[in-house]
């Protein structure tokens, strides 16, 4: 289980995260919901060792989440908003690079793992193409495949549907659900309320760096009036 306890982060005088606490079980999807600039992405960046927290604890199975690059690499995976695929490499090389250089797999082993992932995400026939030739949806799937290659326990998605049409949003939601079924801990930062209807998740509404309301998505959709702030946010964004 991932436990995030009182995590605080400031940039200069501005408090970006203010005593943020929640936990994620294996197989659970936690959705950090909120407008731009409320601290959702910063929290994901802290989990991925791209920022340091000022205070608080992050525990994975009771142990502090390792933040050194070497130990962290197999613990947390990230699918970026802009995908951040390596555009000078082929589709397959985007996956094999870390397998060979970080995980020290042989070229053959890396190729086998990459092909399995690409087949699963319907990209096997694109393996030798440069990523610049992929569509938005294909890039999204490759970004997920790349994040999974090193077998992390936690997968973070930063605004996964911000640039996608409704059909692709459904595909992404299905991919996220599938990851949860495989017992990954999934954390999604988004302002896209349509995603909530497609994902069985726990919603954490954030405002000014704090979680101001939370609810399981089934409970929210069954009793919207009980969760006024989430309801207002959803109503304001729909």
């Amino acid at each position: 289980m991932l436990v995030i306890k009182n995590v605080t982060k400031t940039f200069g005088n501005k408090t970006i995260l203010n005593h943020v606490s929640f936990d994620v079980q294996p197989g659970e999807i936690a959705v950090l919901l909120g407008s731009s600039g409320v601290g959702k992405s910063t929290l994901l960046r802290i989990l991925n060792n791209l920022e340091t927290k000022d205070a608080g604890e992050i525990l994975l199975d009771g142990q502090p989440l390792q933040t050194t690059a070497n130990a962290q690499q197999h613990t947390v995976g990230m699918v970026f908003q802009q995908f951040n695929l390596f555009e000078h490499l082929t589709v397959e090389q985007n996956i094999t690079l870390a397998l060979e250089k970080v995980d020290k797999k042989t070229a053959q082993e890396a190729h086998t793992i990459a092909l399995q992932l690409l087949t699963h995400y319907g990209l096997a026939d694109k393996a030798n193409q440069p990523v610049t030739r992929l569509s938005g949806g294909q890039k999204q799937r490759l970004a997920i495949a790349r994040a999974l290659a090193l077998k992390p326990k936690i997968i973070c998605f930063d605004e996964p549907t911000s640039a996608l049409d409704p059909l692709l949003t459904t595909h992404v939601a299905n991919s996220i659900k599938e990851l949860a079924e495989q017992k990954f801990m999934v954390i999604v930062a988004t302002h896209d309320t349509t995603l909530l209807e497609k994902l069985p998740c726990t919603i954490y509404l954030m405002s000014n760096g704090s979680i101001i309301e939370s609810a399981p998505s089934q409970d929210f959709f069954a009793h919207k009036n009980k969760f006024i702030r989430i309801n207002n946010f959803v109503a304001g964004n729909s």
Binding site: H74, M78, F80, N84, H88, P130, T132, R146
Partner: protein, 219 residues
């Protein structure tokens, strides 16, 4: 009028000069690209001391004429106890001068790479050196390849400055042939054509490489 007998009589001189010019250009490019890449990476890094050191190096090398740098290497270094053959002193000076320019080309290439690429590498657990080697440099070099090509062509032409310290490259051979024949027009037309052939061939090869790189990226 062009006297073709000069070509027939002195072709070994022109050939020797062209080969020496190519040698200077090749070695100078090796020094310039390898050292310049390293310096460009240092200047794009977080270490303030290294950044300042590279900035000072670039200021000195770009701010003084290459001719002075070559004569410094040939005439001043021996006074400091470092004596090199004229060819090597001039070639190293040309290479070092080129490295200052290459470092700035590489630095601009690195700055054109989005931060997201570096972050993706970090999240995947790649080390800083691996991120530079496998993510930043391949993309940065591709972005600045035309500028690096221009620098290589400049270096070929700058190799003529080695003649000032007696290196028998193309310009010096031309000077020698002119002093024997007193036909400046023919001699300098010949070496102009040879320089054009060298730089034209390099341009053609670089263009093909660039085209191939662009092709690989889009197919």
């Amino acid at each position: 009028m062009i006297d073709t007998s000069i070509i027939v009589t002195y072709w070994p001189n022109f050939l020797h000069g062209a080969l020496v010019t190519l040698e200077i250009a090749f070695i100078g490019t090796l020094i310039g690209i390898s050292l310049g890449t390293l310096l460009g990476v240092f200047q794009s890094g977080q270490n303030k001391f290294l950044r300042s050191l590279v900035a000072l190096y670039v200021t000195i090398l770009r701010g003084t004429p290459m001719l002075i740098q070559i004569t410094f290497a040939v005439f001043v270094l021996p006074q400091l106890g470092i004596t090199l053959p004229e060819f090597w002193a001039a070639t190293i000076a040309i290479g070092l001068n080129s490295s200052a320019y290459v470092s700035q080309i590489i630095r601009s290439g690195i700055s054109s790479i989005s931060k997201g690429q570096i972050e993706a590498g970090k999240v995947l657990g790649l080390t800083h050196v691996q991120i530079i080697r496998f993510i930043i440099l391949p993309q940065a070099i591709k972005a600045v390849f035309p500028a690096l090509g221009s620098e290589l062509i400049t270096l070929v032409k700058d190799s003529s400055l080695a003649s000032i310290v007696g290196v028998m490259e193309l310009s010096k051979e031309a000077w020698y042939v002119r002093s024997r024949t007193f036909d400046a027009l023919t001699v300098y037309c010949i070496i102009a054509v040879i320089y054009l052939l060298i730089t034209g061939t390099i341009s053609f090869i670089l263009h093909r490489i660039e085209k191939r790189m662009n092709c690989n990226a889009s197919h």
